[in-house]
Amino acid sequence: MTSQSPVIEELLDGSYEYGFSTDLDTDIAPPGLNEDVVRLISAKKGEPEWLLEWRLKAFAAWQAMDEPDWAKLDIEPIDYQSISYWAAPKPKPTLDSMDDVDPEIREMFDKLGIPLHEQKMLSNVAIDAVVDSVSVTTTFKATLAEAGVIFCSFSEAVREHPDLVREHLGSVVPFRDNYFAALNSAVFSDGSFCYIPTGVRCPMELSTYFRINSQNTGQFERTLIVAEDDSYVSYLEGCTAPMRDENQLHAAVVELVAKDRATIKYSTVQNWYPGDDNGVGGIYNFVTKRGRAHTDAKISWTQVETGSAITWKYPSVILQGDRSVGEFYSVALSNKRQQADTGTKMVHIGADTSSTVISKGISAGHGRNTYRGLVKMLRSADNARNYTQCDSLLIGKECAANTIPYIEVKNPTGQVEHEASTSTVGEDQLYYCRQRGMTEEDAMAMIVNGFCREVFGELPMEFAVEAQRLLSVSLEGSVG
């Protein structure tokens, strides 16, 4: 027997089922990044002057920055000049209805199990489909418009609702925030925009589905969600990519604004291509996600991260208003050679603010999983409370897990509670389940899903089922 039981090894030896690429006629810029490329992107999109200027400022800021120190990540240097910063599926100048969607794109999404035809879709989820950073279609627009909800591609929002975009763009994640946020601000090509007016409860789940298709392209989307006073929205994000030998760069920015008494629930199921068994290929996923919660507002991040060669993201909440609430529920899986460095930042500014962090890290194969979380309570944050729970699950003997909490409390009335645990999926557990008639795959899936239960409970129903399945697949061949 080797260091790891053959049973577990076999279970972890899986394949990526979304690894196909679609032959789309694509408009693609030559690799390389300079001011002209930034101008080209802005021009291609017919953007107003103020946005171009904003991009150029971001580009200048990016050039002056150093790449982050990779801490726990083992990463090949990224050559930013070898990447193409603009790729868009070619046909269709403007889309008036779903029927105008390129059939090949529609087929691609069908293959992914996400039909774009409204009749065929889940009746309560509106989808914005993004291919290679460009929004190709948004469904259920009319229904949403009736409620006053704006849900469209970022480019369309720039055209149709420039004031809203201008007011909020960069208001939560300024372009100077970090290296990848600056890069994104300079070259972002599209993404989703969503606006919920005062007092409106969004009548359906909003969802963006991101698909990387082209080769050698970076994907840089921006999502901006603004929830006015007393509104509610639940937003879902899903991601896949084809199998490629090269690593592909994905650097997105998500900004959430929850005004007084508003609630934003943001859920992600990230399943970018993780690379092969030897760590060749896969997506580098560097994402900046942050929300600002005003008085009595609530922002809740739920993420299930099973893909990408490298995941580097810390969905955060600025608890600005009194009594605002921040939540972070995370499942991060690292299998094969995957590395995940993820966690959250909860910044308490208002009084009586509270935050909850539940993180479940699963390491399998040679995977490495790091939880990195910051809880910060400023002097103004009277009676702020945080509860953090970080659990790590190890499958096999070659993987690793780290938990790195940072706690800064400037107000003596602040309360911070931190719990951490590490456990292993034992042969004993698998054997016990098998003695009761379950296959190895079913047993592993059951054990791992049990470990993630608190987080899956936070996902909307359809997503919870999908997340469980995904986790099983990622483990089974990646575990069953």
Binding site: M1, C433, Q435, R436, G437, M438, M446, N449, G450, R453
Partner: protein, 260 residues
């Protein structure tokens, strides 16, 4: 129905079972007693299919070769093992676990799955049998259960799975007097003409409730004595001393000497 012949088990270069013979006919209950470390649990696991054992000899259930099967195939064939140390599975709902287990064996046998509603009925009946609080169905599998509660849960599972052969490894250990009665009567109720049981125990007490058809004494990886339920009483009084440090082949003589 269960036929075991010259069964040997080694772990690494340690020999634990050294040629064990046992025949169990339909409806029979056989008790196995023996000192700590004599190989009782190892025998149970060898029947259930635990990995890492080097197994020789024969073990068949209704003629089918158990030793060739994966653990889940043995379960489908009707083997149920009550664990001496039931395993905790945090976050997995006990009821869901039970239903998945039942449906897994049903599926493997080509039977229809039971619906959630049908299962509820099955579970309810089983719960009554072991006098278990329904709250336990909503908790995680064995997580935070007391020692006795875990054992009850094993019998609950057995009641749901309705096995052909139940191998119960020290199901009575760690039970208080009342729980012992409940579990024992539960086991007794599950006896049937088509179901056989191998009950591993250290205590004569359990056998008062479940009168076994045969009692076997396992010492040092071998059955050194078999008899009816009176053998258990004898062991209770005299312990295993007479079987220890006995050269192979001498067992009968020395036993006869102490019993006379």
């Amino acid at each position: 129905m269960l036929h075991v012949e010259n069964l040997t088990v080694s772990i690494g270069d340690k020999r634990i079972l050294r040629g064990l013979d046992l025949d169990v006919r339909p409806g029979e209950v056989h008790a196995i007693m023996g000192p700590n470390g004599s190989g009782k649990s190892t025998f149970a696991h060898a029947l259930a299919g635990r990995e890492g054992y080097d197994v020789g000899g024969t073990a068949t259930l209704d003629g089918a070769d158990l030793l060739e099967m994966e653990p889940e195939e043995r379960a489908a064939a009707g083997v149920f093992m009550g664990f001496q140390y039931p395993v905790e599975i945090p976050g997995v709902n006990n009821m869901y676990f039970l239903r998945t287990a039942l449906n897994s064996v049903r599926q493997a046998r080509g039977e229809d799955e039971v619906s959630a509603r049908e299962f509820l009925e099955v579970a309810k009946r089983a719960m009554q049998l072991v006098d278990m609080n329904p709250d336990f169905l909503q908790r995680s599998v064995n997580a935070g259960f007391s020692g006795g509660e875990k054992k009850r849960n094993e019998i609950l599972q057995m009641a749901v799975m309705e096995p052909r052969l139940a191998v119960l490894d020290e199901t009575d250990s760690g039970l208080d007097i009342d729980a012992l009665k409940v579990v024992a009567s539960g086991v007794h109720a599950l006896r049937g003409p088509e179901r056989s049981m191998v009950v591993i125990t250290h205590y004569q007490r359990l056998l008062e409730y479940i009168t076994p058809d045969f009692v076997h004494v396992l010492v040092d990886g071998r059955i050194v004595e078999s008899g009816d339920s009176s053998l258990a009483l004898h062991l209770d009084d005299h312990g295993y001393a007479q079987f220890l440090a006995v050269a192979p082949g001498d067992e009968q003589r020395s036993l006869a000497a102490t019993r006379s």
